[in-house]
């Protein structure tokens, strides 16, 4: 039995809620600007490129590339036993998302490796967008 206290709190700002609801329903969607087509992350009120407030929640393709990674040897958060790693992934749509690698980690070079999206439930708390090596 797990609940949200077994895992780190999310930041649930005004614009974040729909993203987490879509994840719950099985899709990683980000706001795509209706005026210029730019994807944005984290969610927000206007497009960072053109300031248009009009956007559509649009499913991302799920492909990306590892920009960087780090391994925690000191733990601070519930639900994460050390050592564990985090990655910064550049989505093919443009935004960078911080996430984790599911399954096998790269043996040597991480940076530049292609990855693909997997949705991972964290107990009953929430669903995380994570990545596996492509």
């Amino acid at each position: 039995m797990s609940d949200e206290r077994s895992f780190p709190d999310r930041v649930l700002g005004f614009y974040d809620v729909p993203m987490w609801q879509h994840l719950e329903e099985g899709a990683f969607k980000l706001q795509r600007c209706e005026a210029c087509g730019a994807f944005r992350y984290p969610p927000g009120p206007v497009c960072h490129d053109c300031l248009s407030p009009e956007s559509q929640w649009t499913e991302v393709g799920g492909g990306g590339e590892i920009l960087s990674h780090a391994t925690f040897h000191k733990g601070y958060l519930p639900g994460y036993e050390t050592p564990y790693s985090v990655v910064a992934v550049r989505l093919d749509e443009g935004p960078i998302v911080v996430s984790n690698i599911e399954g096998a980690e790269p043996a040597d070079d991480w940076i530049g490796r292609r990855v693909s999206l997997v949705l991972v439930p964290r107990g009953d708390a929430y669903v995380l967008p994570r990545f596996q090596l492509a």
Binding site: P8, P42, H48, T71, P83, A88
Partner: protein, 389 residues
Amino acid sequence: MGRATGPRRTAAIVGIGHTDWSGDWTRVRNGDVPADSTGYAALAFREALADAGLGRDDVDGLICGPTTALERMGELLNINPSWGDQGDAIGAVMKAVQAVEAGLVDVVALVYGNNQRSAGTQYGGPKAMGGGSFLSYVYHAPWGLTSQGALYALMFQRYQHVYGFTEADLGEVAVAQRAFADLNENAIMQGRPITIDDYLEAPYVCEPLHLYDYCLVNDGGVALIVAEAERARQISEHPVYIEAMGRSDLNTNATSLEPRLTDFYHPAQHRVAEKVFAEASVGPEDIDVLQVYDSFSVHIPLALEGYGYCKVGEAGRFFQEQGIGPGGALPTNTGGGHLSETYMQGWNHQVESVRQLRGQAGARQVEDCRYVHYSSDVAGKVASIIYAR
């Protein structure tokens, strides 16, 4: 309307004061609690007033750091100023200069106190300090990313990959600053020198960063007295002038770490370098001492490259061939910095800048020190001051 070019020299630091950082380090580790944040600030203020040879009533402006409330600080010091404000270390100095230039004040007290060690302030985890100001400090917690150190670990990992920098190269920072601390009777880590092997053998906190890449967390206070230039010359035999100042912020996609992971803050540093070196009519080659806000050692190579002390990607070679420690070509964080002197969130760097320019830095004094450059680039908000005699 912009100001005329040429050195600013409208205001100067005429007083410095601080608490007993190493004594309080020992006391707090032994379970004693010497003061709270306001107490440390008040003690430092007394020292700074005495150093300037001023009385409390000479002060007509008050700025306090982010860790104490402005009204309570003013109440405790019993100052009813013509003007008051709050700011981090570099922001406080820049605001004081602006207030002087605007004719609002003549003599400003800048006071800072922090009981972060005895109060158990958290810099990682669910209650991470700074999350209210910087969304990136808390937003990625569901994926296990927390602590400012981890953000610099991600940044440094990619920097290593792009430029072929190594962990041993980075270790030069911690070793050099510890060597300076050994020459500083105020430094918490005096008497505890380290080698590159010590550095590499120390545990990772967030890999690729080792223990010695992280700043200390300790209690203490710092105060500065800034005066209008003419008053400064009456007050002090050795005023330290604010020669130039500038700032450039990187906010585009900051929460998703874009400024850290793509250009390593360099675009903002280039812009600030252009501004402050032109204003002070000097170049990097004229700087005698570099002071860098060093919550993590990673700030130092980034600053060297971003401000043009060496080419981008060549900081590692600069460390080896030129040197940033005692006797090096570019003495950097000469008091030991946050890594080895005291973590006063940039305030101790102002004290050390003044000591070097006054010629009061004892065994670590840099000969004929004329120009000191202080830079802060926390979360890609890049700001610099050039100080001169």
